[in-house]
C-alpha cells in the first residue's frame, strides 16, 4: 500500500488560514490503513483546525467527507454535491488523490494535508517499511522475494556493499541490509546457486527515470 503521514499543523494552517469554509476529504484506502487520512483522521484534523481558528478569534467551517477511493474519478465525482461555496479543498489522501481532485475541480484550490511517503508493508502494529519502488520490471523472482531496489540503500543488484554490520544496513541500525536478507533467504530455500547469477545493468526506462509512466489496457478501455 501507499503510506503517508500527516503534515505538521503549522504547515496545514498556512494553507487554510485565509479560508472560511473548507472541504476536508479523506480516503478509505491506503491512508486509512496507515492511519494518516481515513475517516477518523479527518474528524481529528477537522476539530484541531476549528480549535486553532477559534483560538485566534476566527471561525472555520469544515465539511468532512471520506471517499471510497480518492484516486478514482468515479468516487471523486461525489464531491460535486459538496464543493460549492467552499474556499478550498484540503485532502488527506496520497498525492494521487490530491491530484485527482485538482484535475476534476479546476477552479478550487486543493491542498495536501499529508506527506505521501512510500509503497510499503506493515512490519508490526504502527510500523510501516518501504518494500517496492515500482521499478516496472520486477526482479523479486531472482532475489528470493526481497527487493534490492527498494530495500538496499544503494540499489545493488548483485550482492552487498560490505557496509552492513550484524545484518543491518550501513545507513542505520534500524534498517535491515537487503542483501543480508537475500542471502539468508537463498540459503533457507537451498538456492545459493541463484546468488551466483549475474544481474546486468538495469534498463531504468521502465522506472521513473523514463519519465511519468502510464498503463494503457486497450482491452479494458471503454
Amino acid at each position: 500500500m501507499i503510506t503517508a503521514e500527516r503534515k505538521p499543523m503549522e504547515e496545514i494552517m498556512g494553507y487554510v488560514e485565509p479560508c472560511q469554509r473548507i472541504l476536508l476529504v479523506g480516503c478509505n484506502e491506503c491512508v486509512t490503513v496507515c492511519a494518516a487520512g481515513g475517516r477518523k483522521e479527518v474528524g481529528l484534523l477537522s476539530s484541531a483546525l476549528q480549535m486553532a481558528f477559534m483560538k485566534s478569534g476566527k471561525v472555520l467551517q469544515v465539511k468532512e467527507l471520506t471517499l471510497e477511493r480518492q484516486c478514482d474519478p468515479e468516487y471523486v465525482e461525489e464531491l460535486v454535491r459538496e464543493i460549492d461555496g467552499v474556499d478550498a479543498v484540503l485532502s488527506m489522501a496520497c498525492g494521487c488523490g490530491v491530484q485527482e481532485i485538482a484535475r476534476r475541480f479546476r477552479d478550487k484550490p486543493v491542498f495536501p494535508a499529508v506527506n505521501t511517503s512510500f509503497m510499503g508493508a506493515s512490519e508490526r502494529q504502527g510500523v510501516w517499511a518501504e518494500r517496492c519502488q515500482g521499478c516496472g520490471n520486477c526482479v523479486l523472482g531472482l532475489t528470493g522475494g526481497i527487493c534490492p531496489i527498494a530495500r538496499c540503500s544503494k540499489r545493488l543488484l548483485n550482492g552487498p556493499c560490505g557496509g552492513s554490520t550484524g545484518g543491518k544496513c550501513e545507513i542505520s541500525p534500524d534498517v535491515d541490509c537487503a542483501w543480508h536478507l537475500i542471502w539468508e533467504r537463498m540459503k533457507a530455500l537451498g538456492m545459493e546457486k541463484s546468488y551466483e547469477q549475474v544481474m546486468p545493468a538495469r534498463d531504468w526506462r521502465t522506472s521513473r527515470d523514463g519519465g511519468p509512466r502510464k498503463i494503457v489496457r486497450e482491452d479494458l478501455a471503454l
Binding site: 550482492g159 552487498p160 557496509g163 545459493e192 551466483e196 545493468a201
Partner: protein, 290 residues
C-alpha cells in the same frame, strides 16, 4: 616496473592510499607524494571517499602521475550515472591512468552533502562490465568507440564477520572477477591468521589478493574499531599494546610494519592506508623489511 607488470610477475606490490584535499591547496598531497616516491609501487586515489566532496580521483591520479608516481584510481557509481562514468573512464585513459578499482562507496548519509541524491545507476558488476565493454571498443549503449582504452582493473572485497559472510564475499568476488576484475583489494588486516583463512577460501578465484594495512594512529581509533567493527577482527591485545607503549605513534608504525611483514608470502602485496600520515609510510616499510 609498472604495477601491472609486477602483478603479472607475481611480485609483492606496495600501494599507498592517498586522498585528495577538499579545496585547491594541493601542497600537502604533493609533499606526501614526494616523500613516498620510490618506496611504493603505486598510489591509490579514492573517489569521494565517504562521499565527502573533494578533488576527484581522476584529478588526484593525474597529479600523482605528474609527480612520477603510478596512480590507481577508484571508481564509484554512487555519484555518477553510466554516461558520466564512461566519459570519465575514457578521460582517465587519455590522461595516462592505467589502473582502476571499482568500489561500491559509502552511502551519501556518511558524507558532507547529505541532502544530495545518490545516483546508483550501475552497481559494481555493471561498472566492471562497462569497463570491459569500453576496452572492447564499445560503449554500454552498443556504440563503437573511436579508440578503445585499456586498464588493469581491480575490485574490493567487503569485510566479513564470520566464515559464513566470508563464503558470501568469495561467491560475490567470483562474479566480479567474471565481470572483469583482475585483482582484489581485501579489507584491513589486524589478525593475519583470520586473513589466512580468506586466502585459503579464495584460492580458487585465481587472482592476486592485496589486503589493506591500516595505520591505527591512536589507541582511540584502535579501540573504536575493536568495539564497533566486529568484521575487523582487531585483537584486544593490539589495543593494549598501543595503550601501554610510551611512544604510541611509533608502536602503531611497528604494528603496521609487522603486519606487512607477515603478509609477505600470504598475499601479493598490501595497500597501506595511513589516513593522511603518508610521511610515516617509509618508516612502516622499513619495519616491514620491504
Amino acid at each position: 616496473m609498472s604495477f601491472r607488470k609486477r602483478l603479472l610477475a607475481g611480485e609483492f606490490v606496495v600501494l599507498a592510499e592517498m586522498d585528495t584535499p577538499k579545496g585547491v591547496d594541493i601542497s600537502d598531497l604533493i609533499n606526501n607524494a614526494r616523500r613516498i616516491k620510490g618506496s611504493v609501487d603505486a598510489v591509490v586515489v579514492p573517489d569521494m571517499d565517504k562521499d565527502v566532496m573533494r578533488i576527484s580521483a581522476l584529478g588526484g591520479g593525474v597529479l600523482m602521475q605528474q609527480q612520477g608516481l603510478e596512480a590507481i584510481i577508484r571508481v564509484c557509481f554512487r555519484d555518477r550515472n553510466r554516461v558520466a562514468l564512461q566519459g570519465e573512464i575514457l578521460s582517465a585513459h587519455v590522461l595516462g591512468i592505467q589502473n582502476l578499482i571499482v568500489v561500491p562507496g559509502e552511502d551519501v548519509s556518511f558524507g558532507d552533502h547529505i541532502e544530495t541524491k545518490a545516483v546508483n545507476d550501475l552497481d559494481e558488476i555493471g561498472l566492471l562490465k562497462a569497463i570491459q565493454s569500453l576496452e572492447d571498443g564499445i560503449d554500454m549503449a552498443g556504440f563503437e568507440l573511436k579508440g578503445a582504452p585499456s586498464f588493469t582493473v581491480g575490485c574490493t572485497v567487503a569485510p566479513y564477520t564470520d566464515e559464513e559472510e566470508m563464503k558470501r564475499e568469495i561467491a560475490f568476488a567470483e562474479k566480479k572477477i567474471a565481470a572483469g576484475a583482475e585483482f582484489l583489494i581485501a579489507p584491513p588486516v589486524y589478525d593475519v591468521a583470520w586473513f589466512a583463512k580468506f586466502v585459503e577460501g579464495a584460492r580458487t578465484l585465481g587472482v592476486p589478493i592485496i589486503p589493506t594495512v591500516f595505520l591505527l594512529k591512536s589507541v582511540g581509533i584502535a579501540r573504536y574499531i575493536s568495539i564497533n567493527e566486529p568484521s575487523a577482527h582487531l585483537p584486544e591485545d593490539l589495543v593494549t599494546r598501543i595503550r601501554k607503549s610510551s611512544d604510541r605513534t611509533g608502536e602503531c608504525v611497528k604494528i603496521a610494519g609487522e603486519t606487512i611483514r607477515s603478509l609477505k608470502g600470504l598475499s601479493q602485496g598490501v595497500q597501506i592506508d595511513a589516513l593522511g600520515w603518508e610521511h610515516l609510510i617509509p618508516a612502516i616499510l622499513e619495519q616491514a623489511e620491504v
